[in-house]
């Protein structure tokens, strides 16, 4: 199956989604990334059922500054291991962006997404088709199309390696 074209449902969020709302501080003592999805968005008003209802292949769609707040990598793991294949947002908070890249977890910067969410042009439950190569997002439910930029430069190489640790291991092997 072609993995560059993905299909799934949208879970739509607003601007400035803080890490406490993605993965609450109450569960920070968890050390096993695979156990983190059960707590995803538990404290986000209106999205409390996300963890129970999310299906493999669903997308998280957000406005600007997604993942602001804490440095907790839990907030990346809890979506990655829930089977969310890529996060689509107008922009990502700095530490969240690093944590995603360092885990080889794809994020797309999608222009106009914040306003589109406010205008109801992309809604919870919409079926999306995401072309990762072209950075194209089609809302199949209502026909709207958005364009995203993949990451650049060094981040692309880290993503290609599968994450920062893998990237450093490849570099170390090259030196030998």
């Amino acid at each position: 199956m072609d993995k560059t074209i993905l299909h799934g449902r949208a879970w739509v969020f607003n601007d400035d989604v803080d890490t406490d709302l993605i993965y609450h501080n109450k569960y920070l003592a968890e050390t096993d990334p695979k156990k983190m999805p059960q707590y995803s968005f538990e404290y986000f008003p209106g999205k409390e059922n996300f963890a129970k209802e999310v299906k493999e292949g669903d997308f998280v769609v957000a406005g600007t500054n997604f993942g602001c707040g804490s440095s907790r990598e839990h907030a990346v793991y809890c979506l990655k291991y829930a089977g969310v294949p890529v996060i689509l947002a107008e922009s990502f908070s700095r530490i969240y962006y690093r944590n995603a890249i360092n885990n080889g977890y794809p994020v797309l910067f999608v222009k106009g997404l914040s306003q589109a969410i406010k205008d109801g042009k992309i809604k919870d439950g919409d079926q999306l088709e995401v072309n990762l190569l072209k950075g194209e997002i089609k809302d199949v439910t209502n026909g709207n199309t958005f364009h995203g930029d993949a990451v650049a430069d060094l981040e692309k190489d880290i993503m290609k390696a599968g994450g920062l640790i893998e990237y450093l291991k490849e570099k170390a092997a090259e030196k030998k």
Binding site: K26, L28, A29, S71, R72
Partner: protein, 426 residues
């Protein structure tokens, strides 16, 4: 063309010329983790090195136990033990256990932070160390683990913003109010990915505590780091703790007069009033006067933003002006940032007075920023706190929080409702 502070710091750390937008590998001066995130780092490091890995330099790794100190659960106790055992096995001596207090503050007090240092930590407010000109940044566990291999990590050279602050605060108004005003003006992403240099009269005269307050909240505007080069008393304090090298660092790493900034802002504090971040976001800012009278169930004074001796002194003065009486039914909690601050409070006689007034005076910890230790709010309750985030449910599901200065927080504890401290201080 002149260089900004962050360009000079990254040039030093990368060992080559840098320009805005470059991705560079910087040498790390200190790679730290807390009881939160620390066990995740240790377990990940052991997994990816098949338990054979050695950290690149045990003297440049530190652990601080502050989020849940002392531990309140078996799970946290196990995590803390994982860290202690790893440190022992790796020869890491800089372990500040549950009795020390908030990590960045403890590192600073121990002279482990110099201007220009590149410091990583599993704490999004690590960057408050920019208050002494260090480039410190919060990161996740993967970044910490990666840095333990060879003592380097990748960074994007950020754009720089310059914020000039002039004027003198009126009675009852302080640096926290300026900061709240800035957060309200710029919004949650107003410093997106930027390095922010603070300068001007008000900054040059500011105490270390005030500089820490200012730099800690850069995170709430999505900035990378807020930077202030030490001068005057702050410089003397730092030289005493971290050594004479600090003086050279200040000389070589201060921004050039013709440095280029992407944005320059000016603030004057002469007419500033007490400000508050209303529920449920740091950038939902109003004057305290506009929301005065709103009911508050619990008040917290402390945290990495406002937990130093000067902050607690400011709160103490308000309580003193109210004849050491808090409102009936009010739960007021004061938490010093570190053991050193707690000792200062003991020596000044504050602790006895706080206790007599019915204020809870706790050990130094970050716990009041979570819903998972003490001071958790039940749904529907409203808190006021000097911490740095107030997203809905942060310290208890369905609870709401106002963020304000130590003076406003104590005035609110005295009256049991949101109160402008000038109403008590006169």
């Amino acid at each position: 063309m002149g260089k900004t502070m962050i360009e000079k710091i990254m040039k030093r750390a990368a060992g080559k010329e840098v320009k805005v937008g470059d991705r560079v590998w910087c040498n790390i001066d200190l790679s730290t983790a807390r009881d939160f995130g620390g066990a995740n780092c240790v377990l990940q490091f052991e997994e990816v090195t098949e338990k054979k890995g050695k950290v690149w330099d045990p003297d440049k790794v530190a652990f601080t136990f502050d989020l849940q100190a002392p531990s309140h659960s078996e799970k946290v106790s196990v995590n803390q033990k994982i860290i202690r055992e790893f440190a022992k096995q790796q020869g890491i001596k800089k372990v500040f256990d549950v009795n020390w207090g908030i990590g960045q503050h403890v590192l600073l007090e121990h002279g482990l932070v110099k201007p220009g240092d590149v410091i990583l930590g599993t704490d999004s407010h690590m960057n408050l160390l920019g208050a002494v000109g260090a480039f410190a940044t919060g990161v996740g566990n993967t970044d910490i683990v990666a840095s333990w291999f060879e003592g380097t990590n990748w960074f994007r050279v950020p754009e720089s913003m310059k914020v000039t602050v002039n004027g003198a605060f009126n009675k009852g108004v302080c640096m926290r109010d300026l900061l709240t005003d800035i957060v309200g003006t710029l919004g949650a992403d107003g410093m997106f990915f930027m390095s922010v240099e603070f300068c001007g009269d008000t900054i040059e005269k500011a105490s270390l505590a005030d500089r820490i307050t200012l730099c800690s909240m850069v995170t709430e505007m999505s900035g990378k780091v807020g930077l202030i080069m030490p001068n005057g008393k702050v410089l003397d304090w730092l030289v005493e703790r971290a050594g004479k090298e600090v003086v050279d660092r200040v000389k070589t790493l201060s921004a050039d007069p013709d440095a280029v900034y992407c944005q320059e802002l000016e603030f004057n504090v002469d007419d500033l009033e007490p400000m508050t971040s209303c529920p449920d976001a740091p950038d939902n800012v109003k004057k305290v006067r506009e929301v005065a009278g709103a009911h508050v169930d619990q008040v917290h004074i402390g945290s990495c933003s406002n937990g130093r001796f000067e902050d607690i002194t400011a709160a103490f003065e308000v309580l003193k002006a109210a004849n050491f009486k808090i409102a009936p039914g009010m739960r007021a909690i004061v938490t010093p940032a570190t053991r050193e601050v707690m000792l200062q409070c003991a020596e000044a006689g504050y602790i006895q007075k706080f206790l007599e007034a019915g204020v809870i005076f706790t050990n130094p910890t970050c716990a009041l920023c979570t819903a998972e230790h003490y001071g958790t709010l039940p749904g529907g309750d409203v808190g006021m706190s000097t911490t740095n985030r107030n997203f809905i449910g942060k310290v208890g599901k369905g609870s709401h929080t106002y963020l304000a200065s130590p003076m406003t927080a104590m005035a609110t504890a005295v009256r049991g409702k949101v109160t402008d401290p000038r109403d008590i201080l006169g």
